[in-house]
């Protein structure tokens, strides 16, 4: 969606104009009239957007980042905590690296948006005004889909570990406490869900732990989908190869409910009893992005304009990361979220300073998965805006997979993580 200069002058705040005409940069000297951007969520998408609005806005746009956590914890690599080769501390990055960019940080939770007044209220009661609001809340779980998991108690016994942190550590403890000969059962919801290859990487990491420490134990993957959703040949090669006898894959295994006391997954025609039960629940956009009718794709995710990531339901509100309804073949990944953050930041800077929005954005995706603690595989793609269909399309001939699991890419996967965390947070 292009905003013409005239439209900008009409709808944009007078402050934006005053600033474009000669406001000075820098945080301390930031005039009260500087255009205001509020970012909700400090993950791959939100932190990137916050940093890049400051960076590309030459410090002339005031940016406030609202994040409830005290530090960033990476979901990518968190399966390695289950495998035993990483600690959560290795995946944790402080937010104070954003201070040098002049991002104002608030540890709080976003509650209600008033789109007419252009304000957002936080759970502490603080109300923040905005010219542009960027929502990057990630996903919420659809607990209604699994009735027996409604209570907090049940959720503490049957873990998801699909948001890295306390849940990841707790799942590792359950695996450690499980006697040898036990069964780890994991359920994967129907796509779309966060991180398509993630569950299969998890199966590998748990199998790694079992094969080295609990050789009589087993992994059962109950997949609601009809087939492996990502890197199929590479994962099945591992399950039929180095993890032979450890991993059993069952497609078309839709979950009806669980039985908490017996750790049983109840499927359509079958019950599967576990010693450690790991349910990845179905997901929808984080709560704040489901407000105001913004979750307008099946009531679950938010449709956006891929030039700006502005919601198609609400003006001046942008949605990023796992909360959006992506175009075909655009996975819900941390790397994609980082890329959304940059396209959105460029567009928001243009819109607030009277510039032109890039009419032809191009972005890339990469997901590295660890087969064990030494070998890695990747999937990559490049996506380009198609003006005719107003959506993102994979560039023909671009992208692909690793030929096979290899040790060289373990070095690159590690570098990828360190560099993308730095890209968003320092």
């Amino acid at each position: 969606m292009h905003q013409s200069r005239r439209e900008f002058l009409r709808s944009g705040s007078a402050s934006a104009v005053a600033l474009a005409l000669g406001g000075s940069g820098g945080c301390a000297s930031m005039p009260a009239t500087a255009p205001k951007v509020v970012v909700v969520g400090g993950g791959f998408a939100g932190a990137t957007a916050a940093k890049y609005v400051r960076k590309w806005g030459d410090g002339k746009i005031a940016v406030t980042l609202v994040e409830r956590g005290s530090a960033f914890v990476s979901c990518p690599l968190s399966n390695l905590v289950l495998g035993g080769s990483r600690q959560i501390a290795d995946l944790t990055v402080a937010y104070d690296g954003l201070d040098k960019w002049g991002v104002r940080r608030i540890t709080d939770e976003a509650m209600t948006i008033d789109p007419a007044a252009r304000t957002i209220r936080l759970s502490s009661g603080t109300t923040l005004p905005y010219d542009r609001l960027i929502l990057a809340p990630g996903i919420d779980f659809i607990w209604d889909a699994i009735p027996a998991l409604a209570s907090r108690e049940a959720q503490e016994k049957i873990l998801h570990a699909w948001k890295a942190g306390a849940q990841t550590i707790a799942l590792r403890r359950q695996l450690e406490a499980m006697p040898d000969g036990g069964v780890f059962v994991m359920h994967i919801p129907k796509a779309p869900y966060r991180c398509p290859p993630g569950p299969y990487e998890r199966a590998c990491q748990v199998a790694l732990y079992f094969s080295t420490r609990k050789p009589k134990s087993k992994v059962i993957i109950l997949d609601a989908n009809e087939d492996v959703q990502s890197k199929k040949e590479l994962f099945t090669a591992a399950w039929n190869g180095r993890y032979k006898g450890y991993v059993e894959y069952r497609p078309n295994s839709g979950l009806v409910d669980v039985e908490v006391t017996t750790l049983t997954a109840k499927l359509d025609f079958d019950d599967v009893k576990a010693d450690v039960l790991n349910i990845i629940p179905p997901q929808h956009a984080g709560g704040v992005a489901r407000a105001l009718g913004m979750a307008n794709a099946n009531g679950r995710f938010c449709q956006v304009d891929f030039l700006t990531y502005e919601s198609t339901a609400e003006r001046n509100i942008h949605v990023l990361g796992d909360a959006i309804q992506p175009a075909e073949l655009m996975p819900k990944s941390g790397h994609m979220a980082n890329q959304h953050g940059k396209v959105c930041a460029a567009a928001v800077v243009a819109l607030l300073t009277g510039g032109e929005v890039n009419p032809a954005p191009v972005i890339a995706n990469t997901c590295y998965s660890y087969i064990d603690d030494k070998e890695v595989v990747h999937v990559a793609s490049v996506h380009r805006y198609d003006p005719a269909t107003k959506t993102m399309r994979v560039v023909a001939g671009s992208g692909g997979l690793s030929a096979a699991a290899n040790v060289q890419e373990t070095v690159y996967a590690e570098a990828w993580a360190k560099n993308i965390w730095a890209d968003m947070l320092t």
Partner: protein, 100 residues
């Protein structure tokens, strides 16, 4: 408006739009690269920094990846996603950046 004037006008609009976008083309394409090749010039781990590298060398490497002349794990797959103009703009942008 008569025809030549109209033509001149639309030419102007097109050129100015291209100018505004063109100014940021290198920055926006390079933003694809800096997720893995960090932009502050400090390489973390095994993926080298591209900041401040020779422009023509960057372009050449990308062509070599794209054409399969230089073996790689991932770059040959990514390099095929960008046009020559995008690669040249990104290389110009990256080579002009300084480590901070």
């Amino acid at each position: 408006m008569n025809r030549p004037a109209l033509a001149a006008f639309s030419l102007l609009v097109a050129a100015s739009a291209a100018g505004a976008v063109g100014a940021n083309l290198g920055r926006d394409v390079a933003a694809n690269c800096t997720s893995c090749h960090e932009a502050d010039g400090r390489s973390r781990g095994g993926i080298p920094s591209l900041v401040g590298q020779d422009r023509l060398n960057l372009v050449q490497q990308m062509r070599d990846f794209r054409d399969g002349k230089r073996p790689s794990t991932i770059m040959q797959q990514l390099a095929k996603g960008y046009s020559d103009a995008e690669i040249e703009a990104a290389a110009a942008y990256l080579s002009a950046q300084k480590a901070d």
